[in-house]
């Protein structure tokens, strides 16, 4: 199983589209936001460079896992690679676990590149805060990996790309990726995993502590997405 995971990671890092979309694109957007706000703050008084460092890291991480799992799984179900793997001694769950594991590795560059730019631009955090934030964002990305697996088993290859894009963009739009969620929308934002994901960074802000509601919310989404993915995986196995 480790050989499959190695291979999955290798091919993802080799894929230029992956690097463009999930590493370079959020990094460029981040640089753009910093200059657009020219040292100012977003609504709520958080410095733009701190706010967008988190939201662009999560944007890249969610993009990495959704495309890495949903699109690949859907395409490989269609192409017959999934069937091919079922004719090997690998246990059935190895394929899905391999996808999630490679997603988990590939979100790191997306997070670290944006962090590096933030550091250069003068985002000031203690060492513990940098580590804690990195770990929180990395762990949070597993929720979206599970969502990606579920979407990959639910959608056909010709429709998976638009479905992933719509889900991704709607979650980003109302999750605080481009601008902070206004008070009127906050009661709905609870139902948006990307909003909860961005909230994980609250402990780095002065006068705020760890957002336990966000952690609980993400845990709930994780359970939901894993259950959906497991159900859809079993259904697919019977049909293949």
């Amino acid at each position: 199983m480790t050989t499959l995971i190695q291979l999955e990671i290798l091919r993802t890092l080799r894929n230029k589209r992956y690097l463009m979309f999930t590493v370079l694109y959020p990094a460029l957007l981040y640089v753009f936001f910093i200059s657009a706000y020219s040292g100012g703050s977003v609504a709520g008084g958080i410095p733009a460079k701190s706010y967008f460092m988190v939201s662009m890291a999560t944007f890249g991480a969610v993009g990495a896992v959704l495309t890495g799992s949903a699109q690949r799984i859907s395409l490989e179900r269609k192409s017959g690679w999934v069937r091919q793997l079922r004719l090997t001694a690998l246990p059935g769950r190895a394929y899905t676990l391999g996808k999630i594991a490679s997603c988990a590795v590939t979100t790191l560059p997306a997070i670290l590149v944006v962090f590096a730019i933030g550091g250069i631009e003068g985002v000031e955090l203690s060492a513990a805060q940098w580590l804690g934030l990195g770990a929180a964002l990395w762990l949070g990305s597993f929720v979206f990996a599970a969502l990606g697996v579920a979407l990959g088993y639910a959608a056909q290859p010709d429709s998976v790309q638009p479905i992933v894009m719509i889900v991704y963009m709607l979650m980003a739009l109302f999750g605080g990726t481009w601008f902070p969620v206004g008070d009127s929308l906050k009661k709905f934002a609870r139902f948006n995993p990307v909003y909860q994901y961005n909230q994980l960074a609250s402990f780095t802000r002065p006068g705020q502590s760890v957002d336990t509601a966000a952690i609980a919310g993400l845990a709930g989404f994780l359970v939901l997405f894993v259950a959906a993915a497991a159900y859809l995986y079993r259904k697919d196995t019977k049909q293949a």
């Binding site: 499959l4 291979l7 290798l10 091919r11 490989e76 091919q84 004719l87 090997t88 001694a89 019977k238």
Partner: protein, 335 residues
Amino acid sequence: MSTRVNEGGEVAAFRNVSKSYGRVKAVNGLDLVLRPGETVALLGPNGAGKSSSLDLLLGLREPDQGSVSLFGGTPRAAIEAGRVGAMLQSGGLMGDVKVRELVKFACAIHPRAHRVEDVLRSAGIAEIADRKADKLSGGQEQRVRFALAIAGANDLIVLDEPTTGMDVTVRRQFWATMRAQADAGRTVLFATHYLEEADSIADRVLVLHKGRLIADGTSAEIKAKAGGRRITFELHSSDGVVDEAALRALPGTVSLDVTGHAEGLRTVRIRSMDADAGVAALYKAGFYPHGLEVTSLGLEQAFLTITGEADDEDRGAEGSEGSATENRDAEERAL
């Protein structure tokens, strides 16, 4: 000798297996045993249930009825023990990965793996080992998938239309490799559309039609079952009147077909179970045949005849037997 049901005598067994998709019966009451060392061809028109049968054999699908066993256990257990290698029709390859990496992966997960270089060589893909697996021609891709199927010391190799997309040279190389596998004592089961492959490679031929096994034997037996050989000749009216009843009465005649092209010229085609006796009787009866040819019925014609007969049986009482025979002969002529 009593029937051998011990593991040594039985590679795979279907016992009264049926599988439906919606209202379509893809496999219908299949009973079949494969024995060690056999090279078996699975023939059938499109939709005959070949791929479905292979899916059931490999445990990719569960039968609605009956049971499938591989080496005395479940298909999954046999695959996990590394005893089965398979190459299916739709076996896409991983993208962004080199051929060598893919083969290395297949060897790494095989419980009885061969060496990577050996697998590359036997599958004939050593020279494309550094190419990306998703940037290959159809025939090359097919050989890579074959490499994945022979990454270890399997006892059974299952191939679903393995030579589709290969050109003639590559196809010949492929079968040479396959024969080497069979010579090493492996059991090989392959589905194919190319009947000459079944004829020249398999020592046992199975014909599936509408989910049922309608013939099982050597290629020669299948041909004999379809009505051995064909006698073709011309009769000129100057040599006398053509008496169809007398032609039909020739020994061994299975079917008769008389056509007239030009004035006073008749072409006669007889399918015969005993062509030698038929020809002798033809002269004895006073006929003077021109351009007489006796040809063996190819496996392709035998195949069409057998599946055609199965269709006639399905049609049952409706339509006379005579018209069905004419249809069948018309199919043969079309070849």
